[in-house]
Symmetry: C2
Subunit: 728 residues, 2 copies
């Protein structure tokens, strides 16, 4: 590990000497890097841009009055002010290190002296709710960010301060916070969770600045220093061996920030710990797996509690990208990420990335290919599969979630899928129900509908049983189990497939979903094929939902629209939040076409005789209009063992401004379940130009070379391995 | 007129000689222009781009099999094929003129010979509905386009054809169509309407090609050649003296195409008519007024039946822009239009525009400023007002409609307004209810909900009386009246205003709306102030609606949400299409905030005591999901004389991806009606930082210098002219 550091990092700066303990700053930037940066300004556009942004912010801050208000409510003015303060102290700290101009140091000192007046007067924040409370902020989480960034700022001016001022600040601010975190809130400190990571990061940083080994050891090994809590345990348990973060990518990008800030500080202060090599380079894997889940535009798939717009331009991702690049070695895909990020961290790593970026004539778009991640710290708790076809904006991407629940931010959505096409989610995940940081929306916190709708199974593209949620929406139960990988094969770009099981999420019920992304030259775009098999010990009602965007165009069956009265689809488990807008009884294949953007999408599904189709729209039982108003279709079947077989075809073209439309009806015309049993499932898809696909899937133990045979209605079907797609 | 042509057109090409009658082609391009074009290829990117597109299309066409199918249904394959055929013949005709390559001529000839076989076998199209029928197409309108473009193609190969072939084609195609248009459908021919324009254009063009003066005269003066119908009468009646087109901009851009094609052919064949000078250069004004109504991104405001996306990149607008540039003289704003259009017509005019475009170092965005158009052929039938502030993407634009109904495509929407901000309509017009050219949506035709919702008053941002529509949605009655201009003043950019009357649209009821666009340095963005005054001879229920986009954030009053059941707002006049989603009784000012894109918007309205507020969403009674699902607010008051006073404030900033929000609550806090009578209305708006505006509006006869005084509650208010805004 240390070798890589030397070969890359020092290659750039050619300073040649090891970091000297005790010389400050030494958390994320040091004086030697500052000198190299000063010698390289004006050379790399990317770096110059980021540096000028940082300086502009710092200059504005230091020429404005210092405001340290009493604590206020979450999302309110005071809350935002304290957030701004720590950001500005950090920016000023970096500027002081680069320029030596005392105005930056004075700004940090004077602000900390204001905090030194305020902080001793504070008790537990009066508005804390479920979460560990802070004093400045309603939740301690915000306070750990405050301490993290303030520690870095303090590190920058430590040597400049006189001893008396240091003592005042440390006594009246840092020691009080340290006590609050490590004693009063030791449970939060030792928690294996992103809140815990922020906590240990902040204590670790201030520990290095104060040269307080006790604090650093607590940060690394937990308050009792027994390794049950602390940074290393978090590295052990919060990521799968592939680096996949158990809460999902939205929270991963948030957690990666303290993971990398603290790792970088450890590397600089205790290189003997070889933190970047820890757990087979788990930090590298953590970063890669986060960016590798993103849509081609760099937006994270909003699985679990997540916004639909968070992307790799988040500041934590910018920093992590640069540190990964400098600590683990250059990679064209990291530069492709940078092309989206357009920003670097201001230290040696950021300079290095900017240099490598400038050296490339052309940066290709990110290309991660199809990829599967295992989930759970042991890598045996299911996973996340992503099938990709095409590159950049034209990529089609199919994602299935079959891992762990993911604790408090987890959704009850095993075997849920998202389909991304035309540069956005056309079969979307709802994400969280939260208007983040919008003060009139409950201070920007999670809203009640997050629990009552967004987390529930029906808010996702996965089957519900008896109109309830998986695990009856009991988080504790859900955390104790996981879905299971079955097989994943992207070796043939034209026929890619992933399959997974979810057993026991409903009592006595086992589910298996197999999703194909298929390209056939007779069709203009890739097609999603879905085989969703359910086995149970008794009869149930199975609902198969497809959430979508855009406008309904046509269906191949008669439906009864709810035109003069609307009522909710159900009473609980999220159904109470969906207006029923139409219903139908169907026999045989269901074909529903809608328009989204410039394309048409058709769901063609083999509905069993006597099935129902329901159309719905989110927004019922939503007194404060917290929910988005979005449509869905749902196929409802009463059965014990059942196979939902369906195809989602993307077809045609619509340009309203040019008044052009073609191919508004799909080219696929039929879908049929030939049979399914414990050995395999067989379906047939047919379409124009005599297109006919016979698709066979292995329902038994996964194996790439086992021969399978099933007989349905007197016809025998054989294949070797996990699946076969016969295309005629 | 001819002078301008010489000075500009010949300046470019220096051919110096007048057009020779009888030399073909001579409709839109001639051989001399072709020679100049050939000498200038490779010089102007814009022209080269358009030329290569045209050649690519023509080359693809001439190397593909000729397909002339029997007639089919509107929007279906055959319909689209015949449309494609005339476009391809036109493209091939231009290419033949430019290159002399016979493959293009043969393509046109062979296709026309196919039509010569088919056309004599055809009768009236079996699927024609309300409109005049074609034979190839379900409506004659499409057939006039066929004849227009085919005439231009035929013109290009006329000299190349042998006499026998010409005779066959003329006898079996052109003479039959001519007869169909001028005899069987002479009413359509003589109609003062865009369908009439397309008809006379097509007959005029084929008249020039065939040197048939009778046809040309009919085209110019009507089938009876008495000037009651025909092109000149259309120029007289379809535009206001300002050039504003009575059906509105969406149909203007469609009508301008035949107007300009035929005008250009007239200028080339009968320059003595001085068609471009006709009616004080009405063609110039017609083009300018169309582009001047657009939003800064070039999209037409969707008033009347119109899509929300049609823009100045429409082919008719591209052609008209180039012809206006060449015939009336260069103008930087025409080049700014070209920057959006990115395409030119392939003839001398297009080459000239491309040359002028290339000569500019930088093209500024379109800048039309605030502008008012009169409506009606006499300019005395109300108008259309547009207030603009800021430039390009950052422009705020407020549009009020107070002109004529606009015949069959008119909406019952007098005093309706649209507000454009952040690059889109934030207070939108619904536009038409039509999924244009989408075959499964009734062949892409107008849908029933166009009449039952989109045309109705409640679908617009204007007051309804007793939950009915203006003129009880009777088009004939609506066509016989118009709203009236009151005053318009944009001389002070910070306080711009327009005011108009609509009298008798509801029996015994007079309405006056005054809209301000106000900029106050204490507010981050411009603000809309609305004084909507209604006087009636009896009590009525007045509904004041605001249609919007985005997500509800908060309101300053208690409301009863319809959370477990929804029903329509009413039974008729469009109300049946709106789900009621909440209701409230309010006393005093109403404040409702919603989020749209990156900004918050707040409606602050002075609701009279006992008013109701209703929240709604379109989509009820819509069995085929033809409507968009969009929200609205509505303030309901029972009164005889009433003044709705309200402000729409744009404020704050939201960036979900960066999780930033500020200013989610508006800075304006109060609005009060001080009084209103036949002399004037006075309201007061107040806000943070002691902001206080007293706004006075003249309700009597418009006058810029008359002194007004009103006394309300013992306080006297005086002002000179039509309005006064006291800002404190």
């Amino acid at each position: 590990m240390r070798r890589i550091y030397t070969s890359l990092f020092l290659f750039l700066f050619a300073t040649g000497t090891a970091l000297v303990a005790g010389e400050r700053p030494n958390l994320i930037i040091d004086k030697k890097e500052a000198a190299v940066i000063n010698n390289n300004t004006g050379k790399y556009t990317l770096f110059d841009h980021s540096l000028s942004q940082l300086k502009k912010a710092a200059d504005k801050a230091v020429s404005s009055p210092i405001v340290v208000p009493p604590p206020g409510e979450g999302g309110g003015y005071e809350h935002e002010r304290h957030k701004q303060n720590y950001r500005e102290m950090y920016q000023a700290g970096v500027c002081f290190t680069l320029t030596g101009e005392e105005k930056y140091a004075r700004f940090i000192r004077d602000m900390l002296l204001e905090y030194a007046k305020l902080y001793p007067t504070l008790g537990k924040h009066p508005q804390s709710r479920d979460q560990a409370p802070g004093k400045l902020f309603h939740q301690m989480l915000n306070e750990t960010l405050w301490l993290t960034y303030t520690s870095m700022a303090y590190d920058c001016i430590y040597d400049w301060l006189d001893a008396e001022t240091r003592a005042r600040i440390e006594k009246n601010v840092f020691r009080l916070i340290i006590d609050w975190f490590t004693t009063e809130n030791h449970k939060e400190f030792d928690r294996i969770h992103n809140h815990g990571t922020w906590t240990v990061c902040s204590i670790g940083l201030i520990g290095y600045v104060l040269e307080d080994k006790n604090l650093v050891d607590m940060a690394l090994y937990g308050t009792r220093k027994d390794g049950v809590g602390g940074f290393l345990k978090q590295l052990d348990l919060l990521f799968s061996p592939d680096g996949y973060y158990m809460e999902g990518p939205y929270y991963a990008r948030y957690a990666l920030q303290p993971f990398f800030i603290f790792a970088e500080a450890i590397e600089r202060n205790q290189p003997e710990l070889k933190i970047y090599a820890y757990r087979d380079q788990i930090l590298k894997k953590a970063y890669y797996s986060a960016v590798q889940t993103t849509f081609p535009d760099g937006v994270f798939p909003p699985i679990n509690d997540a916004s639909r717009t968070m992307d790799i331009r988040d500041s934590g991702m910018i920093m992590a990208n640069d540190l990964v690049h400098s600590r683990y070695g250059a990679d064209p895909n990291l530069l492709a990420v940078k092309k989206i990020q357009k920003d670097v961290i201001i230290n040696g790593a950021g300079l290095m990335v900017a240099r490598d970026f400038a050296a490339q004539e052309k940066i290709a778009p990110m290309d991660w290919g199809s990829i599967e991640f295992t989930d759970g710290h042991d890598g045996r708790q299911g996973g996340l599969g992503i099938l990709r076809l095409g590159a950049g904006e034209k990529q089609s991407m199919l994602l299935m979630k079959y891992g762990v629940h993911g604790e408090g931010h987890g959704h009850f959505d095993k075997l849920h899928f998202i389909y991304y096409d035309q540069g956005r989610s056309v079969i979307p995940d709802y994400g969280f129900c939260r208007w983040i940081n919008i003060e009139p929306k409950m201070g920007g916190r999670y809203l009640p509908e997050n629990k009552s709708y967004a987390m529930q199974t029906i808010a996702h593209n996965t089957v519900t049983v008896d109109q309830t949620s998986q695990n009856l929406a009991n988080r504790k139960q859900a955390d104790e189990m996981s879905a299971k990988r079955h097989f994943f094969d992207s070796s043939n770009p034209d026929v890619q497939v992933m399959s997974a099981h979810a057993e026991g999420y409903y009592p006595g019920t086992a589910m298996q979903r197999t999703l194909f992304l298929i390209q056939d030259e007779r069709l203009p775009h890739p097609v999603v094929v879905d085989l969703y098999r359910i086995n149970s010990d008794q009869m149930h009602v199975y609902d198969y939902p497809i959430h979508h965007q855009g406008q309904f165009i046509t269906a191949n069956f008669e439906y009864q629209p709810d035109v003069t009265a609307q009522s909710p689809l159900g009473a609980d488990f999220g159904y109470q939040h969906i207006w029923r807008t139409a219903s139908a009884r169907v026999e045989g294949p269901v074909k529903i076409t809608w328009l989204d953007g410039n394309r048409y999408y058709t769901l063609l599904a083999a509905a069993a005789a006597g099935s129902e189709v329901l159309f719905g729209r989110s927004g019922a039982n939503d007194p404060n209009y917290n929910l988005l108003s979005e449509p869905l279709f749902l196929i409802r079947t009463q059965a014990q063992d059942h196979l939902f077989a369906s195809v989602i075809e993307s077809h045609g073209h619509f340009n309203e401004a040019r008044e052009q439309s073609n191919g508004a009806r799909g080219r696929l015309t039929g879908i049929k379940v030939i049979g399914h049993n414990e050995t395999g499932s067989v379906i047939e898809v047919s379409g124009e130009k005599e297109l006919r696909w016979v698709i066979m899937v292995n329902n038994g133990e996964a194996s790439v070379d086992k021969k399978h045979e099933v007989t349905f209605s007197g016809n025998s079907y054989t294949w070797t391995g996990n699946y076969k797609v016969e295309m005629r």
